[in-house]
Amino acid sequence: MDIHISPHDGVPIYLQIVNQVKHLVATGRLAPGEELPAIRVLAEQLVVNPNTVARAYRELEIAGVVEKRRTAGTYVSDAGSRMARRERLKIVTERIDALLVEARHLGIGTEEVIELLRERDEILQPNS
């Protein structure tokens, strides 16, 4: 599980873990049924407090992304794939928001942005 912690940007570390695990599930790099590292192992790998990892896992469990099994492991839940679409939409939505804000600052209207999107889409289509 490839997670990077940046203590400089202010986002609480547990939230950085939560967001990155969601992202990994959304992009399929963590598959339903796959086991997450044990709390202590991830804590040592990331050099963060084990309580922080435990909190991230709790939040992910509440969100339904992972589930605890009797054998004490933490696994990506089967509901994770349904989650994944919502999560994927969220990622794209964030990018769109950033694009719209930037366009507004540059004085380019929403209609024009949509037009540009279509144009770019055509250019990026394979075999066109």
Partner: protein, 308 residues
């Protein structure tokens, strides 16, 4: 997991009303501090803020003249030996006998600790690739710090105290030290107190943080809580203004003209109401890093001075 046998289950460290003067200088003023069992407690503050003086009281190296210090419920100055066998300690410049060889030093130190675990000591020595036949005085600064770390950990202390352990060390040694903190805490019931001015390291490993400035505890609490009650807001005003506004909760300001950013303390909705009231709009909002909170709390541009 190693069970820690102890009759004492409250706060591992309890400091109340501790005041210390060195001549005319007040090194500690009315310090109150509680370190619950099983936490990593980060002590932050600029050099000379009083962190080392406080740690010396915890270790019983200084006796509380005013106020009280309890470690495992006991006064460390009254029974230093009884407290120190349960404590692992690493200072910024560990005082190690230069003429000894590493292996000799380990055997020598072992005699002081009934709980010394020779197998664990050997494991640590190997993982840090320390040559047992090397003389201490010939070791690099980083290797000396690692030897100090082995000595602090090998008796599996209930309380690990680190005073500026990362100061002046390269990133690889610093990672070894942080790793040791994490492993210590992962063993149930163990507690870590460490001081540092490397706030990104504190932010990684600490559960609780106390900020000390001029001998006083400016704030102390769960790191999550501290982060949740501080916000960095960027405001945009309809007109350029020469000074930032008076905003309740703002600790520091930076910016100019129409855009001003503040690190604030308080509830977000109340802060936003205050922003509305002064006719500005919040254009950006995020959680500040511990570093930014620290600077806002003790930096030269504190709100008191801005208001003057």
């Amino acid at each position: 997991m190693v069970a820690v046998h102890s009759e004492f289950n409250g706060n591992v460290i309890e400091v109340a009303g501790l005041t210390r003067r060195f001549g005319a200088k007040a090194a500690l003023v009315e310090v109150r501090l509680s370190v619950p069992r099983g936490t990593v407690f980060g002590l932050v503050g600029v050099n000379g803020a009083g962190k080392t003086t406080l740690i010396k009281h915890v270790l019983g190296l200084l006796k509380a003249a005013t106020g009280s210090v309890r470690v495992f419920g006991q006064d460390p100055a009254a029974d230093p030996a009884g407290v120190l066998v349960r404590v692992g300690y690493l200072s910024e410049e560990p005082e190690l006998p230069g003429w000894m060889r590493v292996g000799e030093l380990l055997r020598y130190t072992r005699a002081f600790y009934p709980n010394w675990d020779p197998k664990f000591a050997e494991e640590l020595r190997q993982s840090f690739t320390i040559d047992p036949t090397a003389k201490v005085k010939h070791l690099s600064k980083g290797q000396r710090a690692r030897v100090g770390l082995v000595l602090a950990l090998a008796h599996r202390p209930e309380l690990l105290v680190l005073d500026e352990p990362s100061s002046g060390l390269d990133p690889i040694v610093r990672r070894d030290i942080l790793g040791a903190i994490i492993r210590t805490i992962a063993e149930e019931g163990r507690t870590v107190l460490f001081s540092s001015h490397l706030l990104h390291e504190v932010e990684r490993v600490a559960d609780r943080v106390a900020l000390i400035d001029h001998g006083r505890v400016v704030f102390s609490g769960a790191l999550d809580n501290i982060k949740e009650t501080h916000h960095r807001l960027t405001l945009r005003f309809p007109e350029p203004r020469p000074h930032p506004p008076a905003l309740a909760g703002a600790l520091t300001w930076e910016g100019h003209g129409m855009e001003w950013a503040a690190v604030c303390a308080g509830q977000l909705d109340e802060l936003k109401n205050a922003v509305d009231a002064c006719g500005a709009q919040v254009v950006e909002q995020r959680v500040p890093s511990l570093d930014e909170i620290f600077v806002a709390r003790v930096g030269p541009k504190c709100s008191e001075r801005v208001k003057e």
